[in-house]
């Protein structure tokens, strides 16, 4: 528990400014759009969007599985990508999950953590929200190394990169609608509550991973 005593936020004034900006953008644009999306698109349609966005990220998950020394999980990701892209109509339907290969997420931030790199100072990123130095570098690494992004950039179709980022963001915001409302409603200082929740949640994601291996 001692590690949570420190708020680990030396850049708090800057972070709070960005947080205020994010809140304004969220209230005016992102949240209403996410609510509209939930209202207008039935669950079935939203599930297809989620499956498609997830499938598009499979190469990144695969690379991180490998970098974390997880051949079994890497194989799962590879199989899922093959099945879902082939039989799941380009990833629109997750046929691998009911077929017994469950989805798991992975990112560069978690990989760096597995390598023993600490979280670094807490950061609030413009639009993207709560992060830290390690996870921020992880996000940038993902953006620059994602095969889909690299390909679209090479053939000069940048609109596809931004559209994909927008759809992925919308899907994520919709998923978090209730959670974020809940944290905001039950807290006195939303900024601090969100910071604490983010840090604990990330630490648990990394730790679960370590526990599952039983060694590291």
């Amino acid at each position: 528990m001692a590690e949570w005593e420190q708020v680990n936020d030396p850049l708090e004034p800057m972070n709070r400014t960005i947080f205020e900006f994010n809140q304004a953008v969220d209230k005016a644009l992102l949240k209403p759009v996410a609510q509209g999306y939930r209202w207008a698109v039935p669950q079935f349609g939203r599930d297809r969007v989620r499956d498609f966005v997830r499938n598009l990220r499979a190469p990144v998950v695969f690379v991180n599985d490998v970098l974390q020394g997880e051949p079994d999980r890497a194989m799962q990701t590879l199989m899922r990508f093959a099945f879902n892209t082939g039989f799941g109509i380009g990833g629109l339907i997750d046929v691998a999950e009911p077929g017994g290969i469950p989805y798991h997420d992975e990112d560069f931030g978690q990989t760096f953590a597995v390598w023993g790199i600490g979280e670094g100072p807490y950061l609030v990123l413009p639009i993207l929200g709560p992060s830290n130095a390690r996870d921020g570098v992880g996000l940038a690494t993902e953006w620059l190394s994602d095969p889909f992004n690299l390909y679209m950039d090479r053939i000069g179709q940048d609109w596809a990169i931004w559209t994909r980022a927008g759809v992925a963001g919308l899907e994520k915001r919709e998923r978090l609608l209730d959670t974020l409302d809940e944290i905001e409603r039950s807290s006195l200082d939303y900024y601090s509550a969100l910071r604490s929740t983010y840090r604990q949640n990330r630490a648990a994601e990394v730790k679960n991973k370590l526990d599952a291996d039983g060694q590291r």
């Binding site: 528990m1 949570w4 708020v7 669950q43 809940e182 409603r185 039950s186 807290s187 006195l188 200082d189 900024y191 601090s192 509550a193 910071r195 604490s196 929740t197 604990q200 949640n201 630490a203 648990a204 994601e205 730790k207 679960n208």
Partner: protein
């Protein structure tokens, strides 16, 4: 000698066995405690067609009976707890209870058929247990919820709820600590902010 030694061995074996068994029984009890709490919440607070006032009353009764509010209050206030006088402590506990009651009542009002499935129970420290569980939702991924409970006489009291790895007690401590520092460390400043929060929660 041999007789005496085997007698002692026998005593040791029996007492160890008993101690072991009672520890196991207590472990099982902690799970049963969470199970029965979930059931009474479903049957009393989460029912449809209840007036808001009645739902608040029902949840408050359940909450005060099953949560260790004094201990949670001490933890949330941290080092500020000792600096507070008795009146401030009592006021804090009352407001904290109100905030919890109004946020939780709203959650139960929006109850949508979720069920709690119990997982393993592990001892934690000297007197506590961590009860793992999963909240199953229709069409959505389950949420991992762990309960930290402490033995209290014949029953248990909840100290913390850990949702997807994030402890509510630690989050509150961080949240309330931030408000305290922005109020120059003054408990009365925090109590003012809490009062406004309660009024806001009552409205919506």
């Amino acid at each position: 000698m041999l007789n005496r030694r085997s007698f002692l061995t026998g005593v040791a074996a029996v007492s160890f066995g008993l101690a072991h068994r009672s520890a196991w029984a207590v472990t099982g009890d902690a799970g049963a405690f969470i199970q029965s709490l979930a059931e009474s919440a479903m049957n009393t607070v989460a029912v449809k067609d209840l007036s808001d006032g009645e739902r608040v009353n029902r949840f408050r009764t359940l909450f005060v009976d099953t949560f260790d509010l004094p201990e949670i209050s001490r933890f949330v206030l941290g080092r500020y707890w000792r600096a507070a006088n008795d009146g401030q402590k009592a006021e804090f506990q009352k407001l904290f209870e109100d905030i919890q009651v109004y946020t939780w009542t709203r959650r139960f009002k929006e109850y949508n058929g979720e069920t709690l499935e119990l997982g393993s129970v592990k001892p934690e420290g000297d007197a506590d247990f961590i009860v793992d569980s999963q909240m199953k939702r229709a069409k959505l991924a389950p949420i991992n919820v762990s309960w930290r409970v402490r033995r209290a006489a014949e029953t248990f009291r909840i100290l913390d709820i850990i949702v997807e790895g994030a402890s509510m007690a630690i989050t509150f401590r961080s949240d309330y600590g931030a408000v305290l520092s922005s109020q120059g460390g003054k408990i009365d400043g925090l109590l003012d902010v809490m009062r406004k929060k309660v009024d806001q929660l009552k409205l919506g």
